[in-house]
Amino acid sequence: MTNPSTRPNPSSATLSEDIVITTENVSIFYGAFQAVRNVYLDIPKNKVVAFIGPSGCGKSTLLRCYNRLNDLIPSARVEGKVTYQNIDLYDPKVDPVEVRRRIGMVFQRPNPFPKSIYENIAFGARVNGYKGDMDELVERSLRGAALWDETKDKLKQSGLALSGGQQQRLCIARTIAIEPEVILMDEPCSALDPISTLRVEDLMHELKQRFTIIIVTHNMQQASRVADYTGFFNAEATEGGSRFGYLVEYDKTESIFNAPKQKATQDYVSGRFG
């Protein structure tokens, strides 16, 4: 296998849509350890983009660099250029809090706040300076996350009392309440049962009318069901024995699954490894 850093840029050429996020030659380090190497990747507006690949290939790490969540890890360092609306996200003048208001995130494990269902949604809106009708926003957000019918009679109950799938939809409602432009989802269904997973996937189809979604998933069927574009990441060992992740191929989802250009992608999507 050739060295991936010398391989021609596998992305961008295929995209002819409005681009909301660009990733140019991005490498991410934890201390001296390189987790992600030389990624070029553009995110089109109002589409669902899936990142797939085996564990430890850096897809979650890359996802977290889009809302500067890696800032929370003191040793993490991003090289290269990530732009959102043509603004370099890692410019020292950019306030990471402001970035996260524009680029929301849904996490792997549902993490509602220890507050009422109503407050879970109102809190996010309030910290972002929302001044409008809060009741209306809560209802709209819960409807948007397909959770309104189940919770409209118990808005004062703790968000922690909901089932796992409901909690995850509450977290999605909380995210869409702050009206971000992009929603990052880090394996949002990995802790959910198949029925809850289906509901969240249905939701994604609706949400992409209004938001751009980037989803990391281990589940290839899920990627093929929800994503317009798919990026396949793989990990490779260096001479020193440590592993780094890189983007192997990025294309329309049908192409990735039906006519991959790289052999590694072919092997992965056909279930031969990973």
Binding site: V97, R100, N111, F123, V127, C171
Partner: protein, 300 residues
């Protein structure tokens, strides 16, 4: 390898299943169980005997012409009756001052070490200092307050007593607050960051409210500890035969009253010391039970 394992146990011959445990093993088990029960009894004995002695010697004085003990001032020598109302008030006031100092400082310290300085040099140093502080003898805390408050203000006072107690309360509050903050899953912190909350918004509206049961527990434990302290009050709050008229005056406390009256050569004073001891133990037990119920209401 196989030859060794063959010899570990004897072969079980068919038809030799015996439900009787060999008497040696059985007796050893009984002996150990007895030993454990004996240790438990020894452990409970001091508390039981203390409470028994307090009830025996203090109860009658407490309810003899009730409620004079709670309303009257300590009597002069060789005078009957009297009470220790000033000491009850004094204990509450010094503990309150101690809490007012140690709670904000302790909680904010814990927020720094867990939320913002997790693992860095400063927070490790603070941790170390907290551990050392919790092991400092209480009389040293009294000396500290004597040095910085009594000497600068020029006299013994309730404030000095409160400062001395706050030094003892601080490590307890810091530690329980830290435990509370650590119990909050990191996913919640990520969620807060993910919705664009600033550090202040996240800590003030979500993290701290979820930590409240722990902080309440820490506060009550610290109060229970402070209420019983004598040594740090001896040369800070000193004692007062009367109600203190301001916080800058010496003030009576239950623990110092017990210390003074227990060694006094008068029967009435000795009886009052027993009654005061009963009151203070009842107070501490109530506070401890309260802290138990507060901890039961955990969020996570």
């Amino acid at each position: 390898m196989t030859t060794q394992s063959d010899n570990v146990l004897e072969d079980i011959a068919p038809g030799t299943f015996d439900t009787e445990v060999t008497s040696g093993r059985k007796n050893f088990g009984k002996l150990m169980t007895g030993l454990v029960i004996g240790c438990v009894v020894v452990a409970i004995l001091p508390l039981g005997s203390i409470i028994f002695m307090l009830l025996k010697n203090g109860l009658s004085r407490l309810f003899q012409d009730f409620p004079s003990v709670f309303t009257e001032l300590p009597p002069p020598p060789l005078v009957d009756g009297g009470g220790f109302s000033n000491a009850i008030v004094g204990t509450l006031i010094t503990c309150l001052i101690g809490a007012l100092i140690s709670l904000p400082v302790g909680i904010l310290t814990a927020i720094y070490t867990i939320e913002f300085g997790r693992g860095n040099k400063l927070s490790q140093f603070v941790r170390f200092c907290t551990n050392v502080l919790s092991g400092v003898p209480s009389i040293i805390a009294g000396l500290f307050a004597y040095g910085i408050v009594v000497l600068t203000m020029g006299n013994f006072s309730a404030i000095a007593g409160g400062v001395a107690l706050s030094v003892l309360m601080m490590p307890i509050i810091i530690r329980t607050a830290e435990e509370g903050l650590k119990s909050i899953p990191s996913e919640v912190r990520q969620g807060l960051v993910g919705i664009g909350a600033t550090n202040f918004q996240g800590v003030a509206s979500v993290i701290l409210p979820a930590t409240l049961p722990f902080i309440a527990t820490g506060a009550t434990l610290a109060l229970a500890r402070a209420a019983g302290e004598t040594a740090p009050l001896l040369f800070t709050a000193l004692f007062n035969q009367f109600q203190a008229r301001s916080l800058k005056e010496p003030i009576a406390t239950l623990s110092v009253l017990i210390y003074n009256f227990a060694i006094a050569p008068y029967k009435n004073q000795n009886e009052l010391a027993w009654a005061a001891a009963l009151v203070i133990v009842a107070l501490i037990m109530t506070v401890s039970v309260l802290s138990r119920t507060l901890t039961a209401r955990k969020v996570y």
